[in-house]
Symmetry: D2
């Protein structure tokens, strides 16, 4: 058996642990198996850049961040674009797949990468994919690997800010990753006792945000912490068309939304605001034990699906059990935070404001 | 409204975070509320030892280990025992409850403490309880608070042992907490790449354990790591009656099962074995972000149940949603690892031996 | 005996541990001692805002970040400025000191705060001060508390970036705190394997920085990490007068030097550059064990100096032994990185470029 | 140039970081250099088991625990013993050295390994050695690599125990590594707020230990933490001859000294005592940033000594500067804690009892 393996899109913490799960199971269960690691994501598949993996390549990587075979972003939209030189990406990938005589291609990726995985499935390739993203926004699975590790890093950053905010009696904004969904900000904010949490799914009213800060001041609390998603959006901006909003973002002189919110709070309250952006640290470093367990389970399940020739699916987890979700159902859908979910109600019950 | 609060049994990492969730929600939602913290668990309720809590007592404790009101072990079996001095524990607790005019008693505890909570419910007290245990063995909830934090500590211990085992080419046993259930050992073992995992639910055959080690040696792997639950049991011992097994344990000259297993492996393989026991560190320290989120949700939900006078239940989580489970259904039941669960199959697929 | 205590300037990780050392020793060695905690630094001393501390206030704070008595920045330059309302800060502080009948004032602070401490000494107050700063730039002591904890946080941030840089094959800049001195950047950069380290004490030539990156590319290394101090400065800018440089900084359209360096590298190499700024997280969170030991020793030594009436000194450490350095020698001096120090030579020996 | 490299004795956290420092500097500074890694310490040198290292072997190992070339304990006393088969270890090592045409041998090791390094020096080999030990007991250097990382792990263990001890109101003993010297216990105890610290250099009187616990109880403190070195010794035992003491240890029915001390405290106070032994976890896991800086400096300095043919020395650090100490001065000496050192006085000042 010959299995191709690639990691695609922004990296995250538990890619290696997941690949180890796939590989250990295949080596363990299949007599003759060769694993081909494509370098730097779909690019490697396109350009026939790969490495024949050895069992020892997968040893000792359970706790290592990053990906041993590299990754790259390859926007789905460009997949079908044929270059000036006539280079057809999809055909190139199919060609490599066939030339190498693969039985299956295993793809670790986020939303865009799942769409490409589905495209390759439609083109007749055998594909099994795995849910990689710190955003936890993949449709069909309760949890993605990378998410909990990112929650830990973002929470630790807010914890650090907590002591400095409390000492100085200041308002601090910590900007958490997440352009379209707020899972990471919501969990990190809850975990580290943020007073205000702003996420894309719940557009905020800046006056409500200011009210929440001033309520704390009145109660004698000298500081406030805001956990703000990269994609937090005001109620007014949420009414704009996609095009108008994009134009507004492009015209923005602030590097990110947190600075804008900070400026508005400063103007309205007279309090000094500080912004901290942990940025790419949120997708780096060693995976946490939770992710290592999840990744090992995901990887083992993916390998077992390959063995059973149960192709065309994303491996996910539902109510604690591993499931396979047809790629056509997953591709192009986003799992967002429901503003009426019980976790939001519980957060509001303890006094957290969402600015709504 | 007057609400009593107590933490009972062995401590764990997220007790304070949970109490904070309860308190913040009550202070936030109920106009006049007073929280009474009973000191050192049920003992405080019995002997009228308590503290009237202030809102500020619950500030800044989200990340703090231990319990701000103390705890003690109070075996359920002794609850109904009337002392030589005629002291009736149950009546004493009821008396305090009534004297203080409580609307509800909130109990954070594990298995034994839930049984006592149910006993008090049967005696007519309004009780809401919360699932505290690093063992994750409470029936009716998918997850207990403390568990993931303990997994982290046990996993880090095994990670540390991993580097030293690999450097010296040795066999190491790490003994993980869990007398009756193996959740903690299973997750910590999976998370840190243990080669062999022994849990109470899957009795082991020492020869199978030795086979697994020797298979690794043959494959050129210079070391092996065993994650062994405190309550790991051999196939022969599993056949003994409860009484016979207790007698055997009592006669044991080894401090714990790991030393016995280690001795047997040494005799059968000639390899030097080292044993490490992280012990009580597994229930101490700061709660991890996962537990802080869970505890905040649990606490908020408990408070909301009190507000709705929805008493007599354990707050739990099922498929990501908070639920209330009637105490009479919970009390006396244990949630154990099913030897045929998919997580066990996935663990075996990646090559982990359970010695069965 | 009556001792005043204040924490001044930007907070850092081991303030509470240090105050605990002072307090535990005083309570332990002096029969009648009262500790007065001034709130929010010198402001509390000025405006008679304080709290009479109890021994229990200092319990359980060894591992807690921040400061239990608050802090504020109070620029030395403004200390002698008399307000429009005639408010004389220095006289106000002296008045509080005398009114409260203090035997000594203990000041935990960085450079500016040490100058103010010296000013108060000149005015006749008994002062003992302690070296608080993540910058490690206090003259007269080998080490300040807070530094090693900040090194840990900055190093962990670079570690996280390392895995993502390696996975994507990118050039990353991590901006580390330090406007005037490079100790923190130097140590964090060394600790986490940065390829290029830019510090204020060694002005950089952007072409040398680019050379170092391109050398790595030629050697087949797909990524590079730059640790850049906030106060990193180019060779040209280092030639400007202080006034000219300030004007240049003020005119800068980039939020910080890292973006400027990143832009230049992008232009010269065509490689995409990412910037990450851990920011205030570097001064927050729990102190590391190294700092807790140092702080406990510092605190104990300060208390012993008070008992011996050995006033007017900064407590420091020299070659592993605690020393007292006369405040007049400390005030206004900065301990910077010597570009010819052996640590720089060792860093260069392993191949790190300083852009010089 | 050809350089041999070996890691000897118990492993510790920063071995790889140190070897990386040596290797990066040699590859960087010497045109033609080949590094030979002997496998499993002196055993590899004896039996000609080695691996020719590549520059890439030293990439990405800065943060990795353990040793990439393995280690083994090889008691110095046995070095000169000629086996029944006539195998002469010293001659075998010399033979390998000459056969491989080495210019120098780099040894990373603790006390015993330094003695062997000195023996090889006496036999005419060029040796440069590096101070590896979590015990910090090497004569001639202020600090060894591994020590600070071990302090961190031991401190975190005591921190965890702290929360559980406080919650339950118990006396806990945490046994810290160190048979002959107490540096690790002293620093970990100070860092984590231990109330009583017992180290080999300060024999204890069990009644003084009990007094210290009871003093705390009287002050209303519900718990006490003891940090006890593996080699802690009572005043009576300290009077025994070496032979008598060995006999006493051999006859002991307790697994370690902590259980004995615990038993005695239980008998004398009636309080329940718990013992926790972090054990081998203390030498495992990732090195802390402090150690990574130290190791990088040590490694760079060792390489520079090789380049200058400055052989026969241990690389150390004195007052912040790297030094070379002649091996004949180092071998066989131990750096112990001076009971009158100022750090001990400072520890006593904050109220810590050493049981003396």
């Amino acid at each position: 058996m010959r299995v191709g393996l690639l990691t695609s899109g922004g990296d995250c913490q538990s890619l290696n642990a997941t690949m180890r799960g796939v590989a250990k199971t295949l080596y363990n269960k299949v007599k003759d198996v060769e694993i081909i690691g494509f370098l730097e994501g779909y690019k490697g598949l396109m350009h026939e850049e790969y490495k024949i993996m050895k069992p020892s390549d997968f040893s000792g990587i359970l706790t290592e961040g990053g990906t041993i075979i590299g990754t790259s972003r390859q926007p789905f939209k460009l997949m079908r674009v044929i270059g000036e030189d006539g280079f057809n990406k999809v055909e190139a990938m199919k060609k490599t797949y066939k030339k190498l005589n693969l039985d299956c291609l295993v793809v670790l990726g986020g939303n865009g990468s799942q769409k490409t995985a589905n495209l390759l499935r439609e083109e007749g390739l055998n594909v099994v994919s795995l849910p990689k993203t710190i955003d936890n926004d993949l449709w069909g699975t309760d949890m993605t690997f990378g998410f909990q590790s990112a929650v830990n890093i973002a929470s630790e950053a807010i914890d650090c800010i907590h002591t400095t905010a409390a000492s100085h009696g200041r308002v601090f904004i910590v900007e958490v990753m997440g352009h379209k969904v707020g899972w990471l900000t919501l969990h990190a904010g809850l975990a580290s006792g943020a007073d205000i949490i702003l996420i894309p799914e719940i557009p905020y009213d800046i006056n409500k945000v200011v009210d929440a800060i001033e309520k704390r001041t009145k109660e004698g609390k000298r500081f406030s912490i805001l956990a703000v998603a990269e994609g937090a959006i005001s109620k007014e901006d949420a009414k704009l068309s996609k095009k108008e909003y994009k134009a507004k973002l492009a015209a923005r002189t602030y590097p990110s939304v947190s600075y804008e919110i900070g400026k508005q709070i400063e103007e309205k309250t007279g309090q000094e605001i500080r912004v901290t952006i942990p940025g790419h640290t949120q997708r780096g470093g060693s995976p946490c034990p939770y992710d290592r367990v999840l990744s090992t389970r995901f990887g083992a399940a993916a390998a077992q699906m390959i063995i059973k020739k149960d192709y065309g699916k994303l491996v996910g987890i539902k109510n604690g059990e591993i499931v396979g979700i047809p790629l056509q159902e997953v591709a192009g859908k986003l799992k967002t935070v429901d503003p009426n979910a019980s976790i939001i109600k519980e957060a509001k019950a303890v006094g957290i404001s969402f600015g709504d």
